[in-house]
Amino acid sequence: MNRKTALNALHRAHGGRMVPFADWDMPLHYGSQMEEHHAVRRYAGMFDVSHMLVIDLAGEQSRPFLQRLLANDVVRLQTAGKALYSCMLNEQGGVIDDLIVYYLQDKSFRIVVNAGCADKDLAWIKEQATPFAVAVTPRPDLALIAVQGPQAREKTLPLLPTTLAERAAPLPVFHATVQDQWCMARTGYTGEDGFEIMLPATEAPALWQALAEAGVTPCGLGARDTLRLEAGMNLYGSDMDEQCSPLESGLGWTVAWEPSARNFIGRKALETKRNAIDNKRLIGLLLEGRGVLRNHQKLFSDGIEVGEVTSGGFAPTLQRSIALARVQPNIGEACSVEIRGRQVPAKVVRPPFVRKGKICIAT
């Protein structure tokens, strides 16, 4: 029996095509994944992401603990509400999960982790927290709704309690504000502007319905995946996992090497690879021939296998097929992908493919 979010009944009432995802019963789409994708790029769409787990960290040593736990450095979080994207590594430098950490206030932080990793993350975090004066509190009582698109903020703000709206309206990108049990964050996973809203699960259905009445399109996991792929954002489990380091996952920029004395978990292993010339890299691909790029298809350059597609699909904004792929260093711009036995030409490009409704690569 898969777990249900607080919005499950509403998804079913809206005609959601429900699928199992990381032990949850989640909507794949509500009729057309393509239309949901376009709604987010052009207007506003909303996603139930309550299957992701919120974990609160509070206590005297919450900051030094996070400086040990995460490859990015929470020293960058000095003002309340600021958010940071980071990998959480194992001792071998592999990625246990990627997450966003928010500095709430004083000595309290909040992280949001992937649904599929939630159990192992929580166990890992509790284990690592033992020597620190920090309380680790999972928050399954909170629901998460992501409202994304060029009209997302203007459609959301009037539906919030007045004082919260006043605080949320001027939020800069990658910042959050908290009021009572509600947390409004100007973050997302689509390449568009918008909010991610954490709120008591009991209050989530009313907000979802109000957003729907305001013209925000309910969107499923299908559109969430094509939107993040166009935005060039990694998907945990496809584009990186415990077997690969952030350096080989296009996430070198999220590793804070300075100060060199900060001994984050995985640092030693990562340092041996830091300047290695044989590190693989994660690149973007644009399919030039006909077909659709799919996960695990092989890449070839001059007849030699040079890598593999980690996330592939059809990009509705581009009306072309795109992918992220992990490849050997020093491959050129031209390559081919083996699609059902045929070699189909593709071009190496630098993600993102689409941001804020605009195509960012030469097609």
């Binding site: 393509m34 699909g313 059809f314």
Partner: protein
């Protein structure tokens, strides 16, 4: 409930076949199939003149979710393919029994049509 027109014949693999006109039938995928696949983004059709045995893989359709093989419902030779799908694969979603047809095939033996399912038989496959 998906639409299952009475005048067509069906395969367990969710293709539909029209009745023969001068030995040629039209083939497509059912409303149920397009609904399960989700938005189609790419269709790879056979070449005109290609011969196929019954149940041979003869085309590929790809949706936002995955690639699916299309099996030839009857033995024969391709006489026409729906070129409009090259640029507009979504026609299969919008009108699976009309503008979203896939190809036409000259049947080797019209008696093969008798082995296909009728609408009730296909409904039973979906209900199973």
């Amino acid at each position: 409930m998906s639409d299952i027109p009475n005048e067509l014949r069906y395969c367990r693999t969710h293709e539909w076949v029209s009745s023969a006109e001068d030995g040629v039938v039209t083939v497509g995928i059912t409303d149920h199939a397009q609904d399960q696949l989700g938005d189609l983004v790419f269709v790879e059709l056979p070449e005109i003149g290609d011969p196929f045995e019954a149940e041979a893989e003869c085309a590929v359709i790809e949706s936002v979710k995955a690639a699916s093989d299309i099996y030839c419902p009857v033995a024969g030779e391709i006489t026409e393919v729906n070129e409009a799908l090259m640029d507009s694969p979504e026609l299969v979603n919008d009108d699976p029994y009309g503008d979203g047809w896939l190809f036409r095939i000259a049947i080797t033996d019209e008696a093969d049509l008798d082995s296909l399912l009728d609408a009730d038989g296909y409904q039973e496959v979906l209900d199973a």
